[in-house]
């Protein structure tokens, strides 16, 4: 994943302490975030976390309670939605049913007074970009869900917007189509180089396509970082548990390290400072090997085969359940109810209060 | 996206305009029906609704007709629709066509051609205004069908039926105790709409020389317009309350059932 960040100092999009309240409900509780030019930032979080609200405020489809939205250095907080230079892809149903695919893609250009020949030419280019150049004369209901979303993408990009907005564009699609289409979207975004804000609740999706991921919860931004950093060094317990799987294992903290299952592991910022707590350990950081002599500290409960990897559930002697991830080759040597040795070999852990 | 301020004002004004347009005549009816000689207010016309024997008889007849029409319609239509849904799905289009057919065949046409049929009915059942039930069921069919169908298609009847059958239920149990309770809002809706329709029916009753409520109201109009107007207004209000109740109950039940 390359990031097409230029050396401009001005962020392409800037949210400054943005609030959106509905009476007592704080849908957005002070969001501050910058998007660099050409960057794809994904807002990730459960329903109700404020990610869609932030997107709609950027699009102008909603009005902020306080705070500012800036695009290219200009304050657009009070600019009406149809005067903002943005292209948006909705979750579903957004193609105009009475227009052909071509006419849909050319719609924004028609509104801008571009003449017919130029419109259709540009529409053709956009359809080519998303791989649907043969579908121009068809209607929305004749296309599959994935194709419809590709048309929606072409339509949004046809007007050469300053910002591209994607509101859970894959959530309404089948699993397999989702995976194919997210790679398509990323490819197109990199090719065209538009600054993009992508909203989703699917953490795998977020990690796969983003330059940076912003995890949101209850209207606030928990952490914004590149995917690898988010995964390896979560800043808050919510991020650690929402992104990827986490075991919660009893640990003792002293100094700058924690003691988990006999291993000493460095602490991540935000951990408990001393005493005992629960260490959040990823399954792939848990090692399981056959017990030799009497050094076993657990028994295998289940072995789940997932193809290239397998996930094992083990019950420790002290009663805790641990989920470990091994290559299937390694896992094939272990069986249900077998005594095993479980240990932790993480680079760093986050320890949270019990 | 919130509507602008001016839009709201214009909208309010236009709604007021329509309100005047439609409530004006209703208020006029109230005024007209309570007008006494030389400008006094009197409720005599309204008292006639319960005092006048002919009108009374007609109101009771209409209410009975409404009741019987609803019962016969439900008995005929509900099992048939559920049966088609569960066991004869190929007949769905035919059923839909037949049920919506009365929309294309005006009541006036039906009454012109039905005299022979009704001679038979009278011969078999005697001459009673309640005989109108049979043709009324046909008139309410399209509306009842639509109401029940929208309820029926919002539940997965086939799966429910299969689950019940696998637990040992017979077909009548499936229809009566599994499906019907889940389409109750559609059934109620069909019933209320049918009642409203029967209470307002004039064409067939008058041309077959029966005296239902609307026929008597029209006849009275020639001699005692005040009472006719009072009865009309009362009927409008009654039907309105009925349909409002339906819109309140219909929705809340659906919300519960989910």
């Amino acid at each position: 994943m390359t990031t097409a960040v230029t050396t401009q100092t001005e962020p392409a999009v800037a949210f400054r302490d943005l609030h959106r309240h509905y009476g007592d409900v704080r849908a957005l509780d002070g969001l501050s975030l910058d998007l660099a030019p050409g960057e794809m930032v994904v807002l990730l979080g459960p329903s109700g976390c404020g990610k869609t609200t932030a997107l709609r405020l950027l699009a102008g489809l909603d009005v902020a309670t306080s705070g500012t939205v800036m695009v290219g250095g200009r304050d657009i907080t009070h600019v009406p939605a149809n005067k903002r230079d943005m292209g948006m892809v909705f979750q579903a149903y957004s193609l105009f049913p009475h227009l052909t695919v071509e006419e849909n893609v050319a719609f924004g250009l028609k509104l801008r007074g571009v003449d017919k020949g130029a419109r259709l030419k540009r529409a053709g280019e956009m359809l080519e970009l998303v791989g649907l150049s043969t579908q121009g004369k068809r209607y929305a209901h004749q296309l599959s869900g994935g194709q419809q979303q590709r048309v929606a993408l072409a339509r949004a990009l046809a007007i050469e917007p300053a910002v591209l907005l994607l509101d859970e564009p894959l959530s309404a699609l089948d699993a397999k189509v989702r995976v194919q289409l997210r790679d398509e979207i990323r490819r197109v975004q990199v090719e065209v180089g538009t600054t993009t804000l992508f909203v989703t609740h699917d953490q795998e999706e977020a990690l796969a396509v983003a330059d940076r991921v912003g995890v949101m919860y209850q209207g606030r931004l928990e952490q914004v970082a590149p995917p690898t950093e988010l995964y390896a060094r979560p800043a808050t317990p919510f991020v650690a548990e929402f992104v990827g799987l986490s075991n919660r294992l009893r640990a003792d903290v002293s100094g700058r390290t924690a003691r988990v299952l006999g291993a000493t592991v460095p602490l991540l910022d935000g951990s408990v400072e001393r005493g005992s707590g629960l260490a959040l350990v990823r399954p792939e950081s848990v090692g399981v090997s056959a017990a030799e002599g009497g050094d076993g500290n657990a028994r295998v409960v289940t072995v789940g085969f997932l193809g290239a990897i397998s996930r094992l559930q083990c019950r420790l002697d002290d009663g805790q359940i641990v989920i470990a991830q091994l290559t299937s080759a390694a896992a094939s040597r272990l069986a249900q109810d077998q005594p095993v040795r479980v240990d932790v070999h993480a680079d760093a852990v986050l320890v949270v209060p019990e | 996206m919130r509507p602008s301020g001016t839009f709201r004002v214009v909208r309010m004004l236009m709604l007021l305009g329509f309100a005047v347009l439609f409530f004006g005549p209703l208020l006029a009816m109230l005024d007209f029906s309570t007008r006494g000689v030389d400008g006094s207010r009197t409720w005599d016309a309204w008292a006639n609704l319960v005092k006048d024997p002919e009108l009374n008889r007609a109101i009771v007849s209409s209410l009975l007709l409404a009741l019987f029409t609803v019962l016969l319609m439900l008995l005929l239509l509900v099992p048939t629709m559920i049966w088609v849904r569960l066991r004869v799905p190929r007949a769905t289009r035919l059923l839909e066509f037949l049920c919506l057919l009365p929309l294309t065949i005006p009541a006036l046409v039906i009454v012109v051609g039905i005299t022979n049929v009704y001679q038979w009915v009278t011969y078999l059942l005697g001459d009673s205004i309640l005989n109108l039930t049979f043709v009324y069921v046909v008139l309410v069919l399209p509306f009842a069908y639509r109401a029940i169908e929208s309820s029926l298609s919002s539940i997965d009847a086939t799966t429910l039926a299969e689950a019940a059958r696998s637990l040992g239920a017979g077909w009548w149990t499936v229809i009566g105790r599994i499906i019907v309770p889940n389409i109750w809002s559609g059934v109620l809706s069909a019933a209320f709409v049918s009642v409203a329709l029967v209470l307002g029916e004039y064409t067939i009753a008058s041309l077959l020389n029966y005296e239902n409520m609307q026929v008597v109201i029209a006849l009275l109009g020639k001699s005692d317009a005040n009472t006719s107007v009072a009865a009309s207004l009362a009927a409008i209000i009654f039907a309105f309350v009925l349909l409002m109740l339906l819109s309140v109950f219909g929705r809340s039940r659906r919300a519960e059932g989910r």
Binding site: A59 | Y202, V229
Partner: protein, 283 residues
């Protein structure tokens, strides 16, 4: 599975089919047959009587009444429906408008006639008020009981019917279409003319046709208002039924009823085609 057991479930539909046959199909066939019969023999004289000046005039007036009331009903009704739909799906406004529309559209008939007699009849409330305060006599020669009056009264059940029929179409307009247009740069005018109106056009035209058929087949209101003369087809049928011989034809009522079936069937057929188009778009 034997042939019989495959057909057996269909037998349960027999009661329903029999019922419809007796009370719907038989009368309709009676009318069609009667239109072509005179004194027990096949004849076209009833049909040719349909082009007599009297019957033709009634047809012309019926068509005019239906068309004008349909257009009035369609435009005002669409506007009212739009005003209601912008208030939210479960608002009290919507509920009360839908209920009142149901009452007026489906059981209006006679009651509407009396509503107007009470308002602008000879001693109607509005008539008296205008006479006393402004010296204007709106009752005049009794235009309420002729075509202009009929158009006005018919509008009062056409507009509600339009509201009932058109609201679902308006509900079918997805908010994403408006948001997408706005996002692509459309102002309100552009959205309405390039997206909303084109999408609603088939539903609007279809509803107008439905209103036409409804007015053409309507009987009760006219029967209650008009006691002398037969300006429209339904009233001509009334004459035909009460006095057995009309214009020398025993079965003219049947022929007129047949004419009615034909007109309504054609209009509803076109309506059905338009319905197919919109159900795809506005699902």
């Amino acid at each position: 599975m034997s042939r019989f057991s495959r057909l057996a479930p269909s037998l349960a539909l027999l009661p329903f089919l029999l019922y419809l046959t007796v009370f719907l199909l038989v009368p309709t066939i009676t009318v069609v047959v009667g239109a072509f019969t005179e004194g027990g023999r096949f004849t076209l004289s009833n049909i040719t009587a349909l082009v007599d000046p009297v019957t033709l005039a009634a047809l012309r007036t019926s068509v005019l009444l239906s068309a004008v009331s349909a257009l009035i009903g369609a435009t005002f009704g669409a506007v009212l429906a739009y005003l209601v739909v912008t208030g939210g799906r479960r608002s009290w406004l919507r509920r009360s408008v839908t209920s009142l529309s149901g009452v007026l559209a489906q059981c209006g008939g006679v009651m509407l006639a009396f509503a107007f007699i009470a308002t602008i009849g000879f001693s109607g409330t509005l008539t008296i008020w205008l006479r006393d305060h402004f010296g204007i006599d709106i009752f005049g020669s009794g235009w309420l009981f002729a075509l202009p009056g009929l158009i006005l009264v018919y509008a009062y059940f056409q507009i509600p019917l339009m509201v009932i029929v058109f609201l679902p179409a308006l509900d079918g307009i997805k908010p994403q279409w408006r948001e997408a247009s706005v996002n692509l740069g459309a102002n309100a005018w552009q959205y309405w003319t390039q997206v909303a109106f084109p999408l609603l056009r088939p539903a609007f035209l279809g509803a107008t046709l439905l209103l036409f058929a409804n007015a053409f087949a309507a009987y009760a209101t006219a029967a209650a208002l008009v006691s002398q003369g037969n300006p429209i087809v339904p009233l001509l049928i009334r004459s035909g039924l009460s006095s057995e011989v009309l214009l020398g034809h025993q079965h003219l009522a049947f022929a007129l009823a047949f004419e009615m079936i034909v007109v309504v069937a054609i209009v509803m057929g076109i309506y059905g085609l338009l319905l197919q188009r919109t159900s795809r778009w506005l699902r």
